[in-house]
C-alpha cells in the first residue's frame, strides 16, 4: 500500500519523463504517437480538473451563505451569474441562437460586457499603480537602484515630445557630435545591447536551472509536490 502511495507515483513520473525525452529524439511510431498524444491528454485531464476548482469555490461561498455571514449576498450574485454563464454557454446553438458561443449569443454578450470590461479595467489599474510605485519606491537607495532609475527615466522621457525637443536642441544647437547623447539613440542602444546581453544571460541560466530542476523531479529528488503520506 505504501508502495502505491509513495513509490508508484514517482515511478510514473520517471517513466513518463524518460519516455517523452526519448520521444523528442526518436520520431518512430510508438514514441512519436506518445509525443503527439501527451499534450492532448494533458488538456483532457486539466479539463476535468476545472471542476475541482469550481467545487472548492462553491464550497467556500456556500459556507458563507449557509452561515449567513455578512456579505453572503455577493456570493449569491456570484452563483447566479456563474450558473447563467455556464447554462447559456453549454447549451448547443442548434436549440436557439442565444445559446452557444457564437457572436450574438448571450454567452458572448456576458463575456464582452462583463468579463472583458472588468479584465480591461483591472489591467488598466496598472497605469495607476506604476505611478504610485514610482513615487513610493523608485529611490536612489544604492548605485544599482540609481542606474536602474536613470535608465528608466531615459527610456521614458525619450518616448515623449519633450524628450525629442531636448534631443533636437542637443544636436542642433550644441553640436552634431552629441548625436549619441540623443535620448532616442540612448534608448535604442540600451534596448539593443545591454538588454539583449542580460536577457541572454538570464535565459541561459534559467535554461540550466530548468534542466536540472526537471532532472530533480524526474529522478524523484524534488517530490514535495506529492504531499504527505496520508
Amino acid at each position: 500500500m505504501n508502495f502505491l502511495k509513495r513509490r508508484f507515483p514517482i515511478i510514473i513520473v520517471l517513466l513518463t519523463g524518460v519516455l517523452i525525452m526519448i520521444a523528442y529524439y526518436v520520431p518512430h511510431t510508438p514514441f512519436s504517437d506518445f509525443w503527439d498524444g501527451a499534450s492532448k491528454w494533458y488538456q483532457i485531464i486539466a479539463g476535468f480538473t476545472m471542476v475541482l476548482g469550481v467545487v472548492s469555490l462553491v464550497r467556500n461561498h456556500y459556507r458563507k451563505i449557509r452561515e449567513g455571514k455578512q456579505g453572503f449576498g455577493y456570493s449569491i450574485a456570484m452563483f447566479v451569474i456563474m450558473m447563467a454563464t455556464v447554462a447559456f454557454g453549454v447549451l448547443p446553438t442548434e436549440i436557439s441562437p442565444i445559446f452557444g458561443n457564437r457572436s450574438g449569443s448571450v454567452f458572448m454578450w456576458i463575456f464582452e460586457y462583463i468579463n472583458t470590461a472588468a479584465s480591461a479595467t483591472v489591467y488598466s489599474l496598472l497605469a495607476f499603480y506604476i505611478a504610485s510605485a514610482s513615487y513610493r519606491a523608485f529611490r536612489v537607495r544604492s548605485l544599482d537602484a540609481t542606474i536602474m532609475l536613470v535608465t528608466a527615466l531615459v527610456v521614458m522621457v525619450g518616448r515623449v515630445p519633450y524628450g525629442e525637443i531636448f534631443s533636437n536642441y542637443l544636436t542642433d544647437h550644441i553640436g552634431k557630435g552629441l548625436a549619441f547623447l540623443r535620448l532616442d539613440n540612448l534608448t535604442s542602444f540600451l534596448l539593443n545591447y545591454p538588454t539583449v546581453a542580460t536577457r541572454r544571460a538570464i535565459t541561459l541560466g534559467l535554461g540550466l536551472a530548468t534542466v536540472s530542476t526537471s532532472l530533480r523531479i524526474i529522478l524523484g529528488i524534488e517530490k514535495t509536490y506529492m504531499g504527505g503520506d496520508n
Partner: protein, 281 residues
C-alpha cells in the same frame, strides 16, 4: 514641506493620474508634436502620389490593439481619400477584416457629412481576409484579381471599377501596412523584394524598435509607430484625432510619473541629509 513631499497619499497620485488622462479627452491641449523623419517618410510618399492612383492598405492588426492602430488607419484613409487616391483594403489576419469594416464605415460617414459620397468599388474596396501568407502575397504580386477572386462581400472583383486594368501589386503605387505583429516581414520579402512596391509601416509601439533594421535597409519608406507616430501623422494632416488626444494624455502621464520619481527621490535625499546631520549632533 519635506513632510508633505515625503508622504503624498496614494489616492492623490491616483487622482492626478485620472485627471491627467481625462482632461485631454475633454479639452484639447495642443501639446507640441515633433514630426520625426520616419513618419515624414510615409507621409511624403503618399502625399507625392498623383490623384487617382491606387494604394493598398493592409489591415493586419487584432482588435486588441485597436486603440493604438485604428487612429493610424483613419489618418491614412483620410489622407488618401482627401487626395482622391483609390484605397483598396486587404487583410492577412482572420480578425483584421472586421477592423477594415469599422474604419470604412467611419470614414464613409465622415465624408458624407462633408458632402462627398464615397462609392464602394470606385473610391474604396475591401478584399477582406485572404488566407495563405507568403503564397497569397506572391499571388497578389503576379495576378491581383486572380488571387482575390471576390471581395469581402463575395462580389466578383472583376466587376469592381477600382480594380480596372490592375495586373499585379505594381499597379498599386504604395502599400500601407497596419500591423501589430511581425507580419510586415512577409510583405517586405514577397511584395517589396519581388515586386518592388514601396511599403510604409504603421505599427504598435512595441513592434517599432524591431523593424528599424528594415528601415535602415531601405525596405521601408518610413515607420509610424504607436500612438506617438499616429499623432505625428494627424499633425501632418493638421487635425486632432484620438491619437493626438491619447498622446496628450500619454505625454502628461509620462511627465507626471517622471515628476513623481523626482519628488520621491528629492524628499528621500533631503531626509538622508537630515538624518546625517542628526547623527553628527
Amino acid at each position: 514641506m519635506l513632510k508633505f513631499l515625503s508622504r503624498i497619499d496614494r489616492r492623490v497620485i491616483y487622482l492626478l493620474m485620472a485627471v491627467a488622462i481625462i482632461i485631454p479627452i475633454l479639452v484639447p491641449l495642443n501639446l507640441p508634436v515633433q514630426i520625426t523623419k520616419e513618419v515624414r517618410g510615409v507621409y511624403d510618399e503618399i502625399d507625392r502620389l498623383p490623384a487617382g492612383s491606387r494604394i493598398l492598405v493592409v489591415f493586419d492588426y487584432e482588435p486588441a490593439s485597436q486603440p493604438e492602430v485604428e487612429p493610424m488607419a483613419i489618418a491614412v484613409m483620410r489622407h488618401c481619400l482627401s487626395k482622391n487616391l483609390k484605397v483598396v483594403a486587404i487583410s492577412y489576419l482572420q480578425l483584421g477584416r472586421g477592423n477594415a469594416e469599422i474604419v470604412f464605415n467611419m470614414i464613409q460617414k465622415e465624408f458624407e457629412k462633408k458632402g462627398r459620397i464615397l462609392k464602394y468599388g470606385e473610391d474604396i474596396a475591401n478584399m477582406g481576409f485572404k488566407p495563405g501568407y507568403s503564397a497569397m502575397i506572391l499571388g497578389l504580386g503576379k495576378d491581383f484579381k486572380g488571387t482575390c477572386v471576390t471581395d469581402y462581400m463575395g462580389k466578383d472583383v472583376y466587376s469592381l471599377p477600382i480594380l480596372k486594368d490592375v495586373e499585379g501589386l505594381n499597379d498599386f503605387k504604395y502599400l500601407a501596412c497596419l500591423h501589430d505583429d511581425s507580419s510586415i516581414s512577409y510583405w517586405i520579402l514577397y511584395a517589396y523584394e519581388i515586386v518592388g512596391i514601396k511599403i510604409g509601416s504603421f505599427c504598435t509601439a512595441v513592434m517599432a524598435p524591431g523593424i528599424y533594421a528594415n528601415l535602415d535597409a531601405g525596405q521601408l519608406t518610413g515607420i509610424v509607430g504607436g500612438l506617438k507616430g499616429a499623432s505625428e501623422y494627424e499633425k501632418l494632416l493638421n487635425y486632432r484625432g484620438s491619437a493626438t488626444i491619447g498622446m496628450d494624455s500619454q505625454t502628461i502621464i509620462h511627465m507626471l510619473i517622471v515628476i513623481f520619481i523626482l519628488i520621491g527621490n528629492f524628499s528621500y535625499l533631503l531626509k538622508e541629509r537630515r538624518l546625517k546631520k542628526e547623527q553628527f549632533l
